[in-house]
Symmetry: C2
Subunit: 301 residues, 2 copies
C-alpha cells in the first residue's frame, strides 16, 4: 500500500505545488482523496494508473479540491473506461457531480455516481472502510478516516515443524483454519499462526481549523495527513479562513499519538517549507512535508 | 506583440503538452484563446501575467478547450481582480460561463461576462478587432481572426531636414498631421511620413476539418495557428472527428499565402513531432510546432 501526493498546494496552485489530491494505492485499487484542477496530468506524471481509480473522496466544495474532476472523468472516458466511478463528498456532492457531467459536449460511456456523505457515514470496500467525519471549515466539509481490516496472523512454518507436522497439505490445512492430527495429538491453527495483524489507519483532514471531530478521528492513526496552510505566526488568519497551522497539526499528531504526520495544503507564500517543517518537527519529530508526486510506502510499524 | 503557446496538446493532456491555450500579449493587454484545464498553472510558468487577461475566446465546448476557466476565474478572484473579464465563444457560451461560475463556493468580487458569438461577429478592442468565423467540428465551433488596425507611417527625419525643416517643434507638428512653412514653401505631413503600416493578422483555427470558412478567414494571414491533430496517414480518422492533419494545415497555409504556420493540438500519440513537422514543411517550409510555454514575437515582415 502506498500514498502518492499528487498535489500539495493551497487554494491557488504554484509552479511547484498543484492543488490538493492524494492517491492511496492498495493492490490493484486506487482511492483518490480530493481532485484539484490538473490532477489528471499529475497522475500521468506519477506511477499511479488513473484508470484504476475506483472511488474519489472530495473533502469540500472549494475549487482547489474538486475542479480536476470533469477533466479526469472525460479523459477516463476517452481511454475507454467502462467501470463505475464513485465520487463521495459532503452534502451537495451528488448535485455537483451531475453539474460537472453537464459541462461541455461529450458522450459518457460509463457510470459516474456522485453521493453525499454525512459525518459518521462509512463506505465499505474490499478489506477496508472509509468513514467521513465533520471538520471545521468555511463551507460544509469532511475529513476521511481509512481503516484497513485486520488480517489473519502469519503462519509460522518452523513452529509447525517443531510440533511434528510435515511440510505439505497439512501446512495448508492449518493456514486455512483446520486442525490436523500428529499421531494422537491434535494441532490447532492457533498454535502455528501468529497474532492477527492490525489493519492500518490513515486519516486525512481536508481543510480545517482544529476541532474535536478531527481529534476523535485521528486517535492512534498510523498515518495522519493534515493541512498546514501557514505557520503559527499567522494563526489568526488561519482560524479566520478555517485553516490550521503547522503547529496545530503537530500538536494534534502528538496528542493522538500518530505514527507519522504528513503536512499538505501549503500556502503559495512559502517558497521553501523549512519554517513549516521546523515548527512542526519541534513538536512532533516524525513530520514530513511531501513534494508533489512523492510516493511513500505505508505499513504498520 | 507576442504569442505564448501555453498548451498545445490534443483532447487529453500528456506530461509534455497541456490542453489548448494561447496567449496573445499586446502592450499591457493579454488576450487568451482557449483555456484547457491547467491553463492557470501554465500561465504561472510563463512570463504572461494572468491578471492582464481582458478577454478569453473559447473556440468550442469540448473540455480540453474550456475546463481551465473556473480555476482561472477563481484564482483571479483570490488575487483581488476587480476588472471585468469577458469570455466569448460559440452559442451556449453565456450559459456555460454562468454554470462555471456556479461551481463550488466562492465569493466573486469582479464581473465575468460570458457572451455568445455567431460566425461573422466582431469584437472590437483598442487598436484591434477579432472576428469569429464558423469551422467544421463535431460541435458548434468557431475560429478567430485577430486584425490589428493599420498604424500611421513612420516619420522620416532626413527627408524633413532635406526639405529645409529644422529639428524641433516643426518635426512634432508634421508627425501630428500639421503642415509647416519653410520660407514661402508649405511642407505637408505626406511628404515626410512613410506609408501607413499595415496591421498584423493572426488566425486561429480551433478544432476543425478543412472548410471554406477557415480558408476565407486565413487569406494572407501573417500568422496562421492551425490544429494538426495527426499526420495524413490518419486523415480518415481526422475527418471523422472533425480534425485536420499536418498536411491539411500546410496546404491551407500555402494556398492562402500565410507568412508562418504554427501547428497545435498535437495528439498524445506523437511522442516526437518530427512526422508532423516533416509532412508540413514539405508543403509549407515556414512551419513551426511550438512546445508548451514557447513564446514568439510576432511582427509584420
Amino acid at each position: 500500500m502506498d500514498l502518492t501526493f499528487l498535489g500539495t498546494g493551497g487554494s491557488v496552485p504554484t509552479t511547484k505545488r498543484n492543488t490538493m489530491s492524494i492517491a492511496l494505492r492498495r493492490g490493484s485499487e486506487v482511492l483518490l482523496f480530493d481532485c484539484g484542477e490538473g490532477t489528471q496530468r499529475q497522475l500521468m506524471s506519477s506511477s499511479v494508473s488513473f484508470m484504476r481509480i475506483t472511488r474519489i473522496f472530495i473533502t469540500h466544495h472549494h475549487g482547489d479540491h474538486f475542479l480536476g474532476l470533469p477533466g479526469l472523468i472525460q479523459s477516463m472516458n476517452f481511454y475507454g473506461r467502462t467501470a463505475v466511478l464513485e465520487i463521495y463528498g459532503p452534502e451537495g456532492t451528488a448535485d455537483l457531480v451531475t453539474r460537472l457531467l453537464g459541462l461541455g459536449t461529450f458522450d459518457l460511456q460509463y457510470q459516474v455516481h456522485g453521493m453525499d456523505l454525512a459525518p459518521g457515514q462509512t463506505v465499505a470496500g474490499e478489506g477496508y472502510r472509509i468513514t467521513a467525519f465533520g471538520t471545521a471549515h468555511t463551507t460544509p466539509s469532511l475529513g476521511f478516516a481509512f481503516h484497513e481490516e485486520d488480517r489473519p496472523g502469519r503462519f509460522d512454518p518452523q513452529r509447525a515443524l517443531d510440533l511434528g507436522i510435515k511440510e505439505g497439505p497439512n501446512f495448508s490445512r492449518l493456514v486455512h483454519g483446520e486442525s490436523v492430527m500428529v499421531g494422537e495429538e491434535r494441532v490447532t491453527p492457533e498454535e502455528v499462526m501468529g497474532p492477527p495483524r492490525k489493519g492500518l489507519n490513515i486519516v486525512y483532514s481536508g481543510d480545517s481549523s482544529p476541532c474535536q471531530e478531527m481529534r476523535d478521528a485521528s486517535q492512534g492513526a498510523d498515518v495522519l495527513i493534515h493541512e498546514a496552510t501557514v505557520t503559527s505566526d499567522l494563526s489568526e488568519k488561519a482560524k479566520e479562513y478555517g485553516h490550521s497551522t503547522s503547529k496545530d497539526a503537530a500538536v494534534l499528531a502528538k496528542d493522538v499519538d500518530a505514527k507519522v504526520l504528513y503536512l499538505v495544503h501549503i500556502s503559495g507564500r512559502y517558497d521553501e517549507v523549512e519554517p513549516l517543517l521546523l515548527e512542526a518537527q519541534g513538536i512532533f519529530p516524525n513530520t514530513i512535508i511531501p513534494s508533489d508526486l512523492d510516493t511513500f510506502i505505508v505499513r504498520k510499524e
